[in-house]
């Protein structure tokens, strides 16, 4: 489990040893959240491979250009999350596509590479890859305080903002505690490399984690109460963020534009090339 945990990237999670990502951010966290939601709506709302491909390219350019995002870590996260999906969806739909009238390119027993299957696999992967790319952009430039400020700016209920921000800060702590608990059990002779052993040890480890975390959270809660948390509906931001008329306009314009685009695509008013049209053009 420890090795697996090591592979987990930590976008968006608390980084105690580094400068807050908010210090060099151009966008207010609320604007980032709105842009993220608008991008996700476009990815799934417009049935054309052009949209996810464009957003994927934009995400790559942003990751390369942004001083806040380490391109290598962003690319590694993207690869870890998107590559297995490409492999699996390519295998499932590319080789075992169940459509009756699919055009077969190559057949071997039950396996058949079809044009339809490959088109479906590639489009599904493009959508997921674009979604992973834009979410990773947000996550790498964010931390729990930025998320809290963004949610409060968007008028999310205080309790929800508190739960989300606290959960973000707890994930790396919890992972560290799981590692320590496993190391402690390994030192007592348990073969923690075996999955069965880990599953057997899970209830005890989780009970310990829950108890320790609840006590920690109680202390945090006491502190927050004593500082008057929850007494006002819109508390002051935890960090300084750049904001202004342009960003406020973006926060209104981006969702409205994406809703209009999706509505246009669904009703047929906006036409972007579909997969079959692109394939037809490629074949001449």
């Amino acid at each position: 489990m420890t090795a697996m945990q090591g592979r987990l990237s930590e976008p968006g999670l608390e980084r105690h040893s580094r400068t807050s990502p908010g210090s060099s951010a151009i966008l207010h966290p609320a604007t980032e959240l709105v842009l993220l939601a608008s991008a996700l709506l476009c990815i799934y709302g417009i049935p054309s491979p052009v949209v996810p491909a464009t957003l994927l390219a934009l995400a790559v350019i942003t990751a390369a250009a942004s001083p806040r995002i380490a391109l290598g870590r962003w690319a590694a996260t993207f690869a870890v999350l998107a590559a297995p999906m490409l492999l699996m969806v390519g295998l499932i739909q590319g080789v075992f596509y169940p459509g009756d009238r699919a055009e077969v390119l190559w057949r071997w027993g039950a396996a058949a590479v079809t044009v339809d299957g490959l088109a479906v696999a590639l489009q599904l992967w493009l959508r997921v890859a674009a979604m992973i790319a834009v979410c990773a952009l947000f996550a790498f430039g964010s931390d729990s305080a930025r998320t809290f400020d963004g949610m409060i700016r968007l008028r999310a209920p205080l309790g929800i903002a508190y739960v989300c921000a606290t959960a973000l800060s707890l994930i790396p702590l919890l992972r560290g505690q799981v590692s320590h608990a496993l190391e402690a059990r390994a030192a007592r002779g348990w073969n923690t490399a075996r999955l069965g052993t880990r599953l057997g040890l899970l209830p005890g480890i989780i009970a310990g984690l829950l108890t320790a975390s609840l006590v920690q959270l109680d202390q945090r809660h006491d502190t927050l109460e004593q500082r008057g948390f929850g007494r006002v509906r819109r508390p002051a931001s935890l960090q300084e963020h750049r904001d202004g008329r342009v960003q406020r306009a973006i926060r209104w314009a981006a969702p409205l534009a994406s809703i209009a685009l999706v509505a246009g695509a669904v009703s047929g008013l906006v036409h972007l090339p579909s997969a079959s049209e692109i394939l037809g053009a490629i074949r001449g």
Partner: protein
């Protein structure tokens, strides 16, 4: 929670009744929760009735309707359950969400087992604090996990809300008093949970999310099943086993938790055997004295 209720570092002294007494819950909260559930069920039925079992070369709008219906339903449930949850329960939810994400990310997406184990925290919250808290934990957990580490889970938010709520209902019925009842409850909860997740797995991800689950879908499609049929069969098999294991682990965790923690949550007392309840009661009296 207020400062009178707690002794710093020792947790709450007084108990509360999450999910049991909700004197100030407005009617609109129940209406929103019911509306959210209806939207999710309607989306599921509409997808089954109107959409083809296999996606064509042009994906069409199926994915949009599945995403919109499920996420809108989950948002309504989150808005509806929020006033039903005492503020003190908010302290429990971040831990549960972090637990969902930590265990779920390791088991669900990075190992070849066709299981997820990504709702352990929601189930524990459901058992301790009731169905509303369980559902809200499921919704928030998937959204946070989605925007920070793994965006693919956002679409499964409706199923996560159902599992958290179902754990609360099972706890109210006393399903966590014995290990085998917990396993049976998990098996039952896994059926609608798997059915709800199937259209998402099929139409948004082509069944190719995890290595383990994807292998099962590939095998079933090779055997002649349609895309939705293959993912439904895989989801039902994986979800029933997954939820049975999670409910069993939650049962074991509940017994491993210190009584001081458990007795804060009156609903959790229903999940303890009569002997354990007596033990917890004695501990409470000792503390009071």
């Amino acid at each position: 929670m207020n400062t009178r209720d707690s002794v710093s570092g020792q947790g709450l002294v007084t108990t509360m009744s999450p999910g049991e007494s909700r004197p100030n819950a407005p009617k609109w909260a129940y209406l929103l929760t019911a509306a959210g559930s209806l939207v999710i069920i309607a989306t599921y039925v509409a997808v089954l009735v109107t959409q083809p079992a296999t996606l064509g070369q042009d994906l069409g709008n199926t994915t949009l309707w599945v995403m919109l219906g499920y996420l809108a339903g989950a948002a309504l449930i989150a808005a509806g359950t929020l006033p039903l949850i005492p503020r003190s329960i908010y302290a429990l939810m971040p831990v549960a969400i972090a637990l969902n994400i930590t265990v779920g990310q390791i088991v669900g997406t990075l190992t070849p087992i066709p299981l997820y184990l990504d709702s352990l925290g929601s189930v524990i919250v459901g058992v301790l604090a009731g169905p509303a808290a369980g559902a809200l934990t499921g919704v928030l957990g998937n959204v946070i996990w989605g925007v920070t580490i793994n965006p693919t889970v956002i679409a499964f938010t409706a199923g996560a809300a159902f599992v958290g709520a179902a754990a609360g209902w099972a706890a109210r019925l006393g399903a966590f008093r014995a290990a085998w009842w917990a396993v049976i409850a998990g098996l039952i909860v896994g059926v609608p949970g798997g059915a709800l997740g199937a259209p998402v797995a099929a139409f948004l991800f082509g069944g190719g999310l995890g290595v383990g689950t994807g292998s099962i879908v590939a095998t079933l499609q090779a055997a002649g099943l349609e895309m939705l049929g293959a993912t439904t069969a895989q989801s039902l098999a994986s979800d029933t086993a997954d939820k049975a294991i999670i409910f069993l682990i939650a049962f074991l965790v509940l017994r491993a938790l210190p009584k001081r923690i458990v007795r804060r949550y009156p609903l959790a007392m229903r999940s303890l055997s009569a002997r354990s309840r007596r033990g917890a009661g004695e501990t409470r009296e000792t503390v009071s004295a």
